[in-house]
């Protein structure tokens, strides 16, 4: 029961964040890019609830718009990684033999690199930009899905219902699509939820290093970076985007954990 509550709480927070991201133009009190140099580093005012940054921009509005960047990078990364991972994992798992050997060694090679370091190198070469961040994160991101899919498929393909389908003359395409994939949805969903959280943190890290979105676009990571030099004089610059990342990742982890427990309970 308790785990269910956590799952629903997490899902509610994530849904709220998605809603905030979608409705950003309607709910943000100020345009996120509007500067007012004379109004810099305000900690709180009736007009600026969360204060302003060094250029006098409203932090609340920038945090709201930042949700768009973080979530869209997260979803795009997960979708792309999932698509690649699913294709490669299914091929390796179903076909086995040298195809499996080759693809899984490729995965091993990629996993030998620290992911964030590879992403830093990649964006440093391509230059900053949202699309580059997504590509950089997918570079390694797909490997986890590929491994998961392959493992599940190897376990499933020896099950009786698969043998039955084959005996009835189903071709490999049909076996994968109609019998194997539906059984993969639950583990993939869990993996994707954790992947989303990881991608949001990675985007934050890259933007913090100046390799993410270009200024003045607000992203939580770049807001943290902007506020870093003012930690001693205006700590609110880093507090709110930091909290936003923390809450989002926490909520996604609640959802992931909740789903995992439900799935395991069912398969037991």
């Amino acid at each position: 029961m308790a785990s269910k509550t956590w799952l629903y709480a997490g899902a509610a927070i994530v849904s709220l964040l998605i809603l905030i991201a979608l409705l950003a133009p309607a709910i943000a009190p100020h345009p996120p890019l509007r500067q007012n140099l004379a109004n810099d580093l305000i900690a709180y005012s009736a007009d600026h609830w969360l204060g302003t940054d060094k250029l006098g921009r409203d932090i609340l509005s920038r945090t709201i718009y930042g949700a768009r960047i973080s979530l869209s990078v997260g979803f795009a990364t997960v979708a792309l990684s999932l698509a690649i991972g699913l294709a490669i994992g299914s091929l390796a798992g179903y076909l086995g033999g040298w195809v499996d050997l080759l693809l899984m060694r490729l995965v091993d090679i990629l996993l030998a690199f620290p992911g964030i370091l590879l992403a830093i190198a990649f964006t440093a070469v391509l230059g900053p930009g949202l699309d580059h961040v997504v590509l950089a994160l997918c570079l390694i991101g797909w490997t986890g899905y590929a491994r998961l899919v392959r493992g599940e498929i190897i376990a499933l393909r020896e099950r009786e219902f698969i043998h039955a389908a084959r005996a009835l003359g189903a071709n490999p395409k049909r076996v994968i699509a109609r019998h194997l994939l539906p059984n993969l949805i639950a583990p993939l969903l869990i993996q994707a939820t954790f992947g989303l959280a990881a991608a949001i943190i990675a985007e934050g890290s890259l933007s913090f290093l100046g390799l993410g979105v270009e200024p003045p676009t607000p992203s939580w990571g770049s807001m943290l970076n902007d506020g870093r030099q003012f930690l001693l004089v205006a700590p609110h610059l880093t507090t709110y985007p930091g909290l936003a990342i923390m809450i989002t990742v926490f909520a996604l982890n609640l959802v992931g954990d909740g789903l995992q427990e439900r799935f395991q309970a069912r398969s037991r």
Binding site: L33, R34, Q35, L37, A38, D40, L41, K54, L55, G56, G127, P128, G210, E214, P215, P216, N225, D226, R228, Q229, F230, L231, L232, V233, A234
Partner: protein, 491 residues
């Protein structure tokens, strides 16, 4: 926790610890190009002449000197000057220093500056004469070159100098320690030594200062940190006039930027005063050109571009770039603006973007790490960029920046500016030896450049000195030189 405190212990008694933002790369004055190498090197090496705190050249190793004619300079050396290893400093060492720079096998980056030097002749035991191939008034600046002993090779260990401090140790990337030269010919420095501690992050430097691990810092601090330092560390913070000139470089081969009206509109659209007041907390002064009021050649009548967005819009309309939708989101045109990825530089870029947007110019900010940025700037691969010129002494620097013969790699005319009148004046300015006549020439150059705007003037940075109240006797130099550390006491 012990790691946090260790810095207190590695400081020898009576040594001043100076926090710097980048480690000196090459202390040998013949090869030093980065600012910190030059500043630390100036404490180790003496030169024939040295600029004072008003940027006027004063004799140092020279007991006396004179310009014989436009092509000859004669120096009489001070007797009894010794290098840190005990060898006497002689005419031969001065001759060797300059000749080793001219030797192409040594690949000194300063070789080009000595292009006009034809020969050095010893005329008496303590006397020597420099012969130039052509009259070249700004050549006197070359006499501020640090002198090294005969036979000094380019190597990992910098050669000994004859200055107030001698090199004690270098910890690569971390710190450079200098020790007072007890036999210094002028008088022994009051400090036992100076440690230049490399702390790249401005905030960490401020925290180290608060902790007491650093006694002295100059520049490269976040302007908003200054009030904090004053009230939280009891620091003695002072701001002094400087010569470092920040500007927006313009690619004059770009079809839009070729038009003078567009460049003037850029100058009018920028609200320098607001940026200086709020973003820079008055650590700069609005500029109207490369030469600052400290320079003898500065023309006080050069107009300053005010902040006038309405006039900027009119000029852009007249130049043939009407705003397609008035105050709507569509711009008249788009330009890229390149800058380094240092926080303050990026923030300035964002403020400029907003100000130009108000007159209908869309700026696309691209920030890069230094090497990529600088290579693009040299290649002319930009629309707009922002950089600064440091240590401006002779107005002949305008030749290097604006003469049409100075396009990279022959000089620093990175915007590819061509103006035959400016060319003619700049050529005249370097062969004329009379300072009054030169002043008139550079007055005309400044007037033309202020109107033609091959680059948009932003501001001159001030020198910000942050020190413990116990540090006494420091005299700030407009170019940020630290030579007065030889007179500093630490109580």
């Amino acid at each position: 926790m012990s790691g946090c405190r260790s810095n207190h212990d590695d400081r020898p008694a009576d040594y001043l610890v100076v926090g710097i933002e980048s480690h000196p790369i090459q202390l040998d004055p013949r090869y030093a190009t980065d600012a910190n190498s030059v500043r630390v090197g100036n404490l180790i090496y003496n030169s024939l002449l040295r600029a004072d705190d008003k940027l006027r050249l004063q004799p140092e190793l020279a007991e006396s000197w004179r310009m014989v004619d436009g092509r000859q300079y004669e120096f009489t050396l001070r007797p009894n000057v010794k290098f840190h290893d005990g060898r006497p400093l002689t005419v031969a060492d001065v001759k060797y220093t300059f000749e080793s720079i001219l030797d192409p096998t040594n690949q000194s980056p300063k070789r080009g500056q000595l292009k006009q030097l034809a020969a050095i002749e010893q005329t008496a035991s303590h006397q020597l004469r420099f012969h130039l191939s052509v009259a070249h008034a700004p050549f006197v600046e070359q006499f501020t070159m640090g002198i090294v002993p005969t036979g000094s090779l380019r190597g990992d260990t910098p050669p000994p100098g004859s200055g107030p401090f001698k090199l004690e140790s270098i910890e690569a990337g971390a710190k450079v320690t200098l020790k007072a030269n007890a036999d210094y010919w002028e008088n022994k420095p009051k400090l036992a030594g100076v440690v230049f501690k490399n702390v790249p992050d401005a905030m960490v430097r401020a925290l180290e200062f608060k902790k007491g691990a650093i006694d002295f810092m100059q520049n490269d601090l976040e302007p908003d940190m200054l009030p904090w330092l004053r009230s939280n560390t009891g620091a003695d913070v002072s701001v002094h006039q400087g010569t470092t000139y920040q500007y927006i470089g313009i690619n004059l081969t770009h079809p839009i930027l070729q038009k003078r009206q567009v460049r003037q509109a850029l100058a009018l659209a920028i609200d320098r005063d607001a940026i200086i007041k709020h973003l820079l907390k008055d650590s700069a002064a609005a500029a109207n050109g490369l030469l600052s009021p400290i320079s003898w050649a500065y023309d006080t009548t050069v107009p300053r571009w005010p902040h006038d967005p309405a006039q900027a819009k009119k000029l852009l309309d007249a130049a043939g770039y009407p705003d397609p939708d008035g105050d709507g989101p569509l711009p008249r045109f788009r330009l890229s603006y390149k800058t380094t990825n240092i926080d303050l530089r990026r923030r300035i870029a964002e403020a400029l973007k907003e100000q130009l947007q108000k007159v209908g110019i869309e700026l696309e900010i691209r920030s890069y790490e230094w090497a990529t940025f600088f290579s693009d700037v040299k290649k002319g691969n930009f629309h707009l960029y922002s950089l600064a010129w440091v240590t401006i002494m002779d107005p002949d620097i305008e030749y290097q920046i604006f003469h049409s013969a100075s396009m990279p790699p022959n000089g620093d005319n990175r915007g590819r500016y061509r103006n035959s009148e400016v060319d003619r004046l700049l050529e005249q300015g370097r062969v004329e030896s009379d300072q009054t006549a030169r002043k008139e020439i550079y007055r005309q150059v400044q007037q033309i450049l202020a109107d033609d705007l091959p680059c948009v003037p932003l501001w001159w940075w001030k020198n910000v000195v942050v020190k413990k109240p116990s540090v006494k006797g420091f005299l700030p130099y407009p170019d940020g030189d630290l030579i007065s550390l030889k007179n500093v006491t630490l109580r």
